[in-house]
């Protein structure tokens, strides 16, 4: 069980799934697989087959017109981690849930739904998790407005 380097990972990935190969890049020392939101589910399934048995983190980033979904996968056998990123348009912010692949996605997807308003299809129990059930809006969106927020004076 030795630690795999990024290059080895790329080779391994390309050998197993040639169609994913061109989407692979390296950013700040981490392997990143940038996929289309339509193919996201497929790519994640492939990577699970490849040996990525842990879904460490799922989160989203608000880029204005689009949301970027970030999946952090870890493999115990290869001892390596990598990212899968996919962009979904803001207008139809919806993506297939991964709870059936990795149960750890359960609460994390609820959290993204809560704070970003991205809907995960086929999620068993998609409710707000951190905020109250009657909360209006999704606070981590950049355009979230709440009268109760007091802006901090810009000292820096």
């Amino acid at each position: 069980m030795t630690r795999m380097t990024i290059d080895e990972l790329r080779e391994h990935l390309c050998a197993a799934y040639p169609d994913l190969c061109p989407l692979f890049s390296v950013e700040f020392g981490d392997g990143v697989l940038l996929v289309d939101s339509a193919r996201l589910r497929e790519a994640l399934e492939d990577l699970k087959e490849l040996g990525f048995d842990r879904l460490g983190m799922v989160t989203a980033v608000d880029f204005g017109d689009e949301f970027e979904l970030v999946y952090r996968l870890t493999s115990r056998s290869m001892r390596v981690g990598m990212f899968v990123k996919a962009r979904v348009p803001r207008s139809i912010a919806s993506v297939r849930s991964t709870v059936d692949l990795w149960p750890s996605a359960d609460w994390q997807e609820r959290e993204i739904f809560d704070l970003f308003g991205i809907v995960f299809e086929a999620h068993p129990d998609l409710r707000r998790i951190l905020l109250t059930d009657d909360w209006v809006g999704h606070p981590l969106r950049k355009d979230y407005i709440d009268d109760s927020i007091i802006r901090r004076p810009d000292y820096l």
């Binding site: 020392g29 983190m57 608000d62 952090r72 750890s104 994390q108 959290e111 606070p139």
Partner: protein, 366 residues
């Protein structure tokens, strides 16, 4: 008994053994838990949103308040992400100091967890004994950073200040006495036949579930999942240090507790080695601008905290503020196991299982 006979009991959000503000809706059939649903978010303070309006350095105090039992971890994980993003090289002495404080922090945090196992099972005295050990670590940290709880010590590029005079000796003293004190607490708690009966075979987590549910830290290692970032994804100076990763076998509350116990002893070894290898030098990277403005991109880095792999995901848009910060919280992932682990046990076991997952709600809710 039919399903109609179920009683719904609300545990929390302010309950002596939820370790913070967690609410657990429990469906009971007599005393047997049929369904336990944790309801979290009572301490959701929006730290991730706040970070978007702070400069990179100003976020560090916020990370203190994430895992308030082990502030150093969140500091360090955040700083590693910033350093990766901005390409900062940290001086060696600073790395050693970070390892030392984080291993001490592991002791402090595990003391809290082991002690609260005592409190959950009703042995409050063991909690006091464990807490006394924690107080000594807190004293050491106070000498370092001036604060007892929220240290703000690990900063991007190094640490806040060099070790004060005489600190190394005090630290050695503490580390020397700690394993013996640890054994005393072990005798008082896990040596007690009632405590063993209360924790053995309770809340069994299989390795398969541990991996699938993203459990990490002592919770996963208690089930025999041999995964420790310090060894498997080595960071900082850990490759130069010799330590073993204690593993459990059955994955019950007892094993999780024992793993924490042995981790404390291992931490003492690590601290001793790190103190031996510590050499004079700068503790802060030179030439850092007052306002960091990393190039656009995103970076993730994680460390092994007392609760598991604590990761920080940072997105930069090139400005002086993070565009987005996300904390991958181990306690959040571990707590999601509660419904599975508590089912079929009694209400008394529920609090023990919850305690053995060692959630810190600052980190769970963020």
């Amino acid at each position: 008994m039919s399903a109609e006979c179920r009683t719904v009991v609300n545990v929390g959000p302010s309950h002596p053994s939820t370790h913070g503000v967690c609410r657990v809706l429990v469906e009971l059939d007599g005393e047997i838990v049929r369904r336990a649903e944790p309801i979290i978010g009572y301490l959701h303070r929006g730290i991730e949103k706040m970070a978007e309006n702070r400069s990179y350095l100003q976020v560090v105090p916020l990370t203190d308040r994430l895992d308030y039992v082990g502030s150093m971890y969140a500091n360090w994980a955040y700083c590693r992400a910033v350093e990766r993003l901005a390409g900062i090289r940290v001086p060696e002495r600073a790395e050693y100091i970070r390892v030392i404080v984080c291993e001490l922090q592991r002791i402090a945090s595990h003391m809290m967890s082991i002690g609260s196992t005592g409190a959950d099972t009703g042995a409050f005295t063991a909690f006091m004994y464990a807490f006394n050990q924690r107080e000594q670590v807190v004293d050491l940290f106070e000498a370092l950073s001036g604060s007892r709880l929220t240290y703000n010590y690990v900063r991007p590029g190094g640490v806040g200040a060099d070790l004060p005079e005489g600190w190394v000796e005090r630290c050695r003293e503490f580390v020397a006495q700690h394993p013996a004190a640890m054994m005393e607490i072990d005798d008082l708690l896990f040596g007690n036949v009632i405590c063993r009966a209360r924790t053995k075979g309770i809340g069994v987590l299989t390795p398969h579930d541990a991996i699938g549910w993203g459990a990490s830290g002592p919770v996963a290692r208690g089930s025999g999942v041999d995964w420790d970032l310090r060894r498997d994804d080595p960071y900082s100076v850990y490759p130069r240090l010799d330590f073993t990763v204690p593993l459990g076998e059955r994955g019950d509350c007892y094993d999780r507790g024992r793993v924490r116990l042995w981790e404390c002893v291992e931490s003492c070894r690590i601290v001793t080695q790190a103190l031996d290898q510590l050499e004079p030098g700068p503790v802060q990277a030179e030439g850092l601008p007052r306002l960091l403005a990393p190039r656009p991109g995103d970076a993730y880095d994680h460390i092994e905290s007392a609760r598991g792999s604590l990761g920080v995901y940072l997105v930069s848009d090139g400005s002086v503020r993070p565009y987005r910060m996300h904390v991958r919280s181990p306690a959040f992932a571990n707590l999601a196991l509660l419904p599975m682990l508590a089912e079929g046990h009694t209400l008394s076991d529920l609090v023990v299982v919850l305690g053995s997952l060692d959630p810190v709600f600052g980190e769970v809710d963020r």
